[in-house]
């Protein structure tokens, strides 16, 4: 199914919403599991987003310019004794796309501070 330009799928709305929610709590950049947990915690009693759905949607949003991502410094990961994280960040275009989507659908985030300005 082809989508109209500018439309967002529910999982994409959730990702952008959760990403901005994390930004407001002090973490501008986030990794996949952090995002899945944020969505599960704040979008009602929902299971963690599946691996395939989450990372496919992240890639799609990045290709659309609504997210950017980069690998974490390997030294930091090595110092913590864990695999490197791919860190994502919501772009200005992503923020505007979410605000436009919410304005169209009359849906407001449950998190403070997301009201369209």
């Amino acid at each position: 199914m082809r989508r109209k330009p500018g439309t967002l799928l529910p999982i994409e709305v959730d990702i952008l919403d959760a990403g901005l929610g994390l930004r407001r709590t002090g973490g501008a950049r986030f990794h996949g599991f952090q995002l899945a947990k944020q969505i599960a915690d704040h979008a009602g009693p929902r299971p963690l987003t599946s691996h395939g759905t989450l990372y496919k949607a992240l890639q799609r949003l990045e290709e659309a310019g609504l997210l950017t991502s980069q690998w974490e410094d390997p030294d930091i990961a090595a110092a913590d004794g864990r695999p490197r994280r791919r860190l994502y960040e919501v772009t200005g275009a992503g923020e505007r796309a979410l605000a436009a989507w919410q304005a169209r659908h009359g849906r407001m985030s449950g998190r403070p501070g997301l009201e369209p300005t």
Binding site: H51, G52, Q59, R82, P83
Partner: protein, 261 residues
């Protein structure tokens, strides 16, 4: 190696399988992202002291639920390497259905139990056994439907347990295969969902005092109905486990309530 580590190994194998023969950059990125995700989920599970089997179930559920998307992603990657246009996929309605399929099945099970419970005395004649049996089945159906609401609005774990317990009366009808299959599917899905909620430390979901009263009333109602039937008719001994499990649900609800306040 813990159950969660074994589940992570299964996911790693699956990622390696579906990313085989793809462009190196895309395959390595997906594998590395999943390696990080699996590590983070297990680390978080340890942080909140979640049981390793609960974390393992959550990891496996995420893998299984994402398999169609994984395969579509592989198709897109292969199409991109061959210079074919990519078609963005996924209908919102289908995605919602894919995420909530078991709740839809649970709702159907609950409605069926309520209808069946009402039909038993109407069809087989009004007497102590038919009214009591019908009431138990109908109450179980209401428990499933109530569990869906509790899960949505109050406590995910308590709601899941109510759904699992409420679906149990579907099990004895082994000669009508779809019924126990549907019941077992709902019980397993609800148990896995509760395990995942537990793995995320969501047992602290706020519970209002009204929920405890509701759970207590439901448990007392079923216990009052079941106890004489279990004592008087062997057939109903199949339901003897219900009060015990309902007591467990109430206990969990009360514990959550205490922790939330």
């Amino acid at each position: 190696m813990s159950p969660a580590d074994r589940a992570a190994a299964v996911v790693s194998w699956w990622v390696a399988t579906y990313s085989r023969h793809l462009p190196t950059e895309a395959a390595e990125r997906r594998q590395a992202e999943l390696a990080s995700d699996l590590w983070e989920q297990r680390a978080y599970g340890r942080l909140v002291r979640a049981p390793a089997p609960a974390v393992a179930l959550s990891i496996l559920r995420r893998m299984a639920a994402g398999m169609p998307a994984d395969l579509r992603w592989r198709q897109h990657q292969l199409a991109a390497t061959r210079g074919r246009p990519l078609v963005p996929g996924g209908r919102p309605v289908l995605r919602t259905l894919a995420r909530n399929w078991w709740l839809i099945l649970a709702a159907l099970v609950g409605l069926f139990e309520v209808a069946f419970g009402v039909a038993i005395p109407l069809h087989d004649g009004v007497n102590f056994d038919t009214i009591g049996g019908g009431a138990i089945v109908a109450t179980a159906g209401l428990l499933v439907l109530g569990g869906i609401a509790v899960r949505r609005r109050r406590s995910r774990i308590a709601g899941d347990l109510m759904i699992a317990v409420g679906a149990m009366p579907m099990m004895p009808w082994l000669w009508i295969i779809p019924l126990p299959v549907a019941g077992l599917t709902v019980i397993v899905a609800a148990t896995v969902d509760a395990a995942e909620a537990r793995s995320l430390g969501q047992r602290h979901t706020p519970t209002r005092p009204g929920d405890r009263v509701l759970l207590g009333v439901a448990a007392a109602l079923v216990a009052v109905l079941v106890a004489p039937l279990v004592a008087g008719a062997p057939f109903w001994s199949a339901f003897a486990v219900a009060p015990v499990l309902l007591g467990l649900v109430v206990y969990l609800g009360l514990r959550q309530g205490r922790r939330a306040t």
